[in-house]
């Protein structure tokens, strides 16, 4: 691979991966905060309001890091991927601009009110501002997914005389069939992150014997939401997304599954390391016929392996793609398992005393982040070697005049700044968790009542 190309790809991969650690919690928590606020409003229960205020503080810190790491994403299309932008900007510029105009303005206007305005607003109006923040963040998710869906499965465009892509049908583009399931799957992933984090903090409080009233609310809300979304994530959204890949990116499917040879009744590899040179899986554990069933709903269906496609159209990093996909699926299965058990215990009224389960729930906090990251890596590495599937190769998309040296300079700069940002973030979040959800726990010097958010 050409040196500059590799660095531009790493540049985007690093900044995008780091960035997406934050919006997934923003979007997940936005939903759960609306749930808490709704319960508080309907039952007129101030404990739920306190719970919502606590999560609003976490949300606020998380939101800021999401915003400041998100701005570079939109700029990088131009700075590092200018040839791609000139080629596809007439189409994907639409959704990116709409994200700013519709979603970010909504979100940023109301987050101020939501975080600062609880005392100035009536409970209903404050609830409404929480809903507006939720709507803004979930809307922005759709515009990004629609942009990515175009790169995965371009629709609604025509090729102009100068070779660039231009919009032919707005609705075809915005309602890309790829975007629908991808959006559902992605937002499910975000809700899982939110639910696991809420559960984990609740479990930590219960295990420490602190703030148990609030902790029970956190665990209960988190487990119910977590169970619901973990199940939906596998069926139907994950299943349908797999079907789309089977139909529209069959070479990606083969690489994800580590299927080197076309065959009828293909088996599903659960564990095993792909060996690209020898074109086989080492020490495989497989479920016979399962891949055919998942892909075509028939156990003896013929599934095309990598050998059915020219090698220069294969995704260029098959092992990483294979592992990303397997990690995502493995963790997804694990989420269903623990959340179903936790829900059963909750239903039997035993969860809050089942310390072993609380331990598991507390320690599971990092896994949704890994699963979401692995999922995006599956989608984006699976799209390779194309930047716009079937239309433009990644190697033709980067900024040719930005040298490897300049790109490396800014990549290192981002790494440095993001490291500091990550440490600060963890530190501040930890302090809020230590401080707890009950007002009046602020340090003495504080002039501001903790009842006001953030």
């Amino acid at each position: 691979m050409d040196g500059a190309l590799l660095i531009h790809r790493l540049h985007f991969a690093f900044t995008a991966t780091f960035h997406y650690l934050f919006p997934q919690l923003t979007m997940g928590l936005a939903l759960l905060i609306v749930v808490l606020k709704t319960i508080a409003l309907r039952r007129n229960n101030p404990v739920y309001d306190e719970a919502a205020r606590f999560w609003a503080k976490i949300f606020g810190i998380n939101f800021i890091v999401g915003v400041v790491t998100g701005i570079p994403m939109e700029f990088q299309f131009g700075t590092n991927w200018s040839h791609f932008s000139r080629f596809a900007g007439g189409v994907i510029g639409q959704t990116l601009a709409m994200e700013g105009m519709f979603a970010f303005f909504l979100e940023s206007a109301f987050i101020g009110l939501f975080l600062f305005g609880e005392k100035r607003l009536s409970p209903k109006a404050h609830w409404l501002s929480a809903v507006a923040v939720f709507a803004g963040s979930w809307l922005s998710g759709y515009f990004i997914i629609a942009t990515d869906a175009f790169m995965q499965h371009p629709v609604g465009y025509y090729k102009a005389a100068d070779g660039s892509l231009q919009l032919a049908s707005f609705w075809d583009f915005v309602l890309n069939p790829w975007a629908g399931w991808q959006y559902a799957h992605n937002m499910g992933g975000a809700a899982i992150t939110g639910a696991f984090i809420m559960t984990s903090v609740g479990a930590f409080y219960l295990l420490s014997g602190k703030w148990t009233t609030h902790a029970r609310i956190f665990v209960k809300t988190g487990v119910i939401a977590g169970c619901l979304f973990s199940v939906l994530q596998i069926f139907p959204t994950g299943d349908q997304q797999g079907k789309m890949v089977t139909d529209l990116q069959p070479v990606t499917l083969a690489a994800m599954e580590g299927l080197f040879h076309s065959q009828p009744g293909a088996s599903l590899v659960i564990i095993g390391q792909p060996d690209e040179q020898k074109r086989k899986i080492d020490n495989p554990i497989e479920v016979p016929g399962m891949l055919s069933i998942l892909s075509y709903r028939r156990w003896n269906a013929h599934v095309r392996g990598l050998d059915a496609f020219p090698q220069h159209d294969w995704p260029d990093n098959i092992p990483l793609l294979y592992y990303s996909y397997h990690i995502m699926v493995g963790l997804g299965t694990f989420f269903v398992a623990i959340m179903v058990v936790a829900l059963l215990l909750l239903w039997r009224g035993r969860l809050f005393n089942a310390r072993w389960m609380l331990w598991i729930l507390m320690l599971s906090a990092p896994f949704p982040y890994i699963a979401n990251t692995a999922g995006w890596m599956t989608a984006e590495i699976g799209r390779q070697p194309w930047v716009v599937y079937g239309l433009m190769r990644t190697e033709d998309g980067y900024s040719k005049l930005v040298s490897a040296g300049n790109s490396m300079f800014t990549l290192l700069g981002f790494m440095g700044i993001y490291t500091v940002l990550g440490i600060l973030f963890l530190f501040l979040i930890w302090r809020e968790i230590e401080r707890g959800p009950v007002a009046g726990n602020e340090p003495v010097s504080s002039l501001h009542p903790a009842t006001e958010a953030r």
Binding site: G60, G93, G112
Partner: protein, 334 residues
Amino acid sequence: MIAAYVVLDGFDLGAGAIYLIAAKTNNERRRVLRAIGPVWDGNEVWLIAAGGTLYFAFPRLYASSFSGFYLPLTIVLWLLILRGVGIEFRGHIENHVWQDFFDVIFSVSSILLAVVFGAALGNVVRGVPLDSTGYFFEPLWTNFKSGPQTGILDWYTVLIGALALVTLAAHGSYYVALKTDEDLGRRARGFALLCWPLQFFLTISTLLATYFIRPEIMVNYGRHKVGILVPMMVVASLAVMLWANPKGKEKLAFVASSLYIVGMLVGAAFALYPVVLPARDHQYDLTIYNTAAGAHGLNVGLVWWLFAAVLVVAYFVFVYRRFRGKVQLGEGHY
């Protein structure tokens, strides 16, 4: 949209620029932050939205300018990150050593942002080394002369950067004076008074320098006489600022400062039109014609864009009304 960004984020950048000097005590600093706290994030969305709009309406311009201004843009991104962190995280740590640290980060990054934005505008007026491929790349500086091997920073763009800094510092001072009272408000007003002669002097010298660098800047003004209104507005708003500020009419001064900024930007855009990114070699100029997206995309875009713009104005009016009046401490954060 770019004008809206500069006017709106301009005052919070300017507030950052004067922050260390004008606001001495912790309480005063918190009041400045509270004045911009609920709105800075929304103001920065203008930048993102302007970038997005540029992307869909003029994809070629977006691609050329963003990759050509690779280094300054990336530095802008870093500064925006640091600045956002400085504003937001300060209130989470009640330790004055950390707070001083975040204060310096916030203020220094605000100052640098004002200069870099100014220098970028200077580059656009001066012209960049575009070639037949429609791309260019500029190092941060070469020899500080204005050509032919240009860098982002040369004597001319640095001059514009200085003007931008002074303008935004004054703009921020008017805003702080408008939103606060007592010592802090008085000091902000005094600072704005100090800025005025500098701003006046720099305005004149940049206009002369621009004529020297790019004599054809006057062609559009000769062709369309209405254009003269724009420089007249600039001069008038400068005069209003000088008059209104000592009289304590902060609102009027702030409006005049906003009009001054709009006037300068519109004046530059009017002079360049229809060129949007001039090349050093004029045959490679990027114009609105050779960079625009396809007709269908532009038509569709205009429909939803106008619809969204109405919503945006509604949100902004709503939020600014909620947070109107002088800032008091005692409730909320920062």
